[in-house]
Symmetry: C2
Subunit: 202 residues, 2 copies
């Protein structure tokens, strides 16, 4: 456990202690329920030091779960443009990120979430609070339908990541990204904006 006094900013032990505590608190209480104050108290440091090292609660969350990137930096390019092409933009961006160096961190994160219930909680919370909320708000989806639509999208994209980058199932693993965009974008488009009356009327 890190001690509060006598450490200069940037001390690696203190940083690491804050991150360990942050993972616990985020996993236990969820992103919304966690506070910088509680994390600081758990790590035995001043809240100001947590802000100093990690910035906002969002930024601390991204660092704590080793997120390969900040969704807020890339989501605008998906959300901007014709709504009936959002499936295409989303699958294209998804593949571009996973095919890039950030994909290595993505593989590590996904592997960890599959084998570890705590990381799974963090990842769930990450997807819901950092990605889906923004998408739902931006597209003004029916709030009664948005959560299931979003998790259907997640089911296809998580499956794409697992089969292409982890299980490496051929020929999907070596198919050019743009071919996969053509194949998978209609699925994502239907989940986001398609008529799912028969799904929601059941």
């Amino acid at each position: 456990m890190a001690r509060r006094t006598g450490r200069r900013p940037g001390n690696p032990d203190t940083r690491e202690a804050i991150l360990v505590t942050a993972r616990e608190v985020f996993a236990e209480r969820g992103f919304d329920g966690a506070s910088i104050r509680a994390i600081a108290a758990g790590a035995g440091v001043d809240p100001a030091l947590v802000h100093h090292y990690f910035g906002t609660k969002d930024q601390l969350f991204l660092t704590a779960m080793n997120a390969p990137l900040d969704p807020r930096e890339v989501l605008p390019e998906v959300l901007t443009g014709p709504p009936d092409e959002i499936g295409q933009r989303l699958v294209r961006l998804f593949l571009r990120i996973w095919d890039s160096p950030a994909g290595t961190a993505g593989v590590a994160l996904l592997r960890s979430a599959v084998s570890n219930e705590w990381t799974a909680r963090l990842l769930r919370d990450f997807v819901v609070t950092q990605i889906l909320r923004q998408v739902t708000t931006h597209l003004a989806l029916d709030p009664a339908q948005a959560p299931l639509r979003a998790s259907l999208v997640a089911s296809q994209l998580v499956g794409l990541a697992i089969t292409r980058y982890i299980l490496r199932l051929e020929p999907l693993a070596s198919t050019p990204a743009e071919t996969l965009v053509t194949a998978i974008a209609p699925t994502v488009q239907r989940y986001v904006t398609g008529d799912l009356t028969d799904v929601f009327d059941r």
Copy 2:
């Protein structure tokens, strides 16, 4: 390593030694390249003993990878019936199996495949040789298109299993199976029999 002599059939050490060797040989050479003879030699036993314990090579493969069930026992109900409803039958069967006690073994298998490259190889080989070959043959799919179509199906179904049973993303994790059949069957149907000209012409 098991010894050949002085063991009666059913000896747990010998059985386990055969299974350990079988996993190695299947992972190294693939299902098609592996032989009962090579596995028996690796385990230091007579091939007849391998057959005696485990039956055919297919059955040994299923046992070696802790497959929750034999695809040949359940695939006929997917393959029999109108071809334009195969998506529905496949997603329904998939969810029925994963929602059953066999689902627990499925979760263990998928977790292991995601964290372990050798199990991933076994699972890939399992999917290709035990499931996809049968489906492709039965539906008489264009051999040039069948492998990508099949791996697109795998991407959606693996993603469904991971998000519903391992990450437990809500509301998908607690949505009734028949609602998910309605939502996801059209995706699978398109991947299997839909017009993917724009995908294959790229």
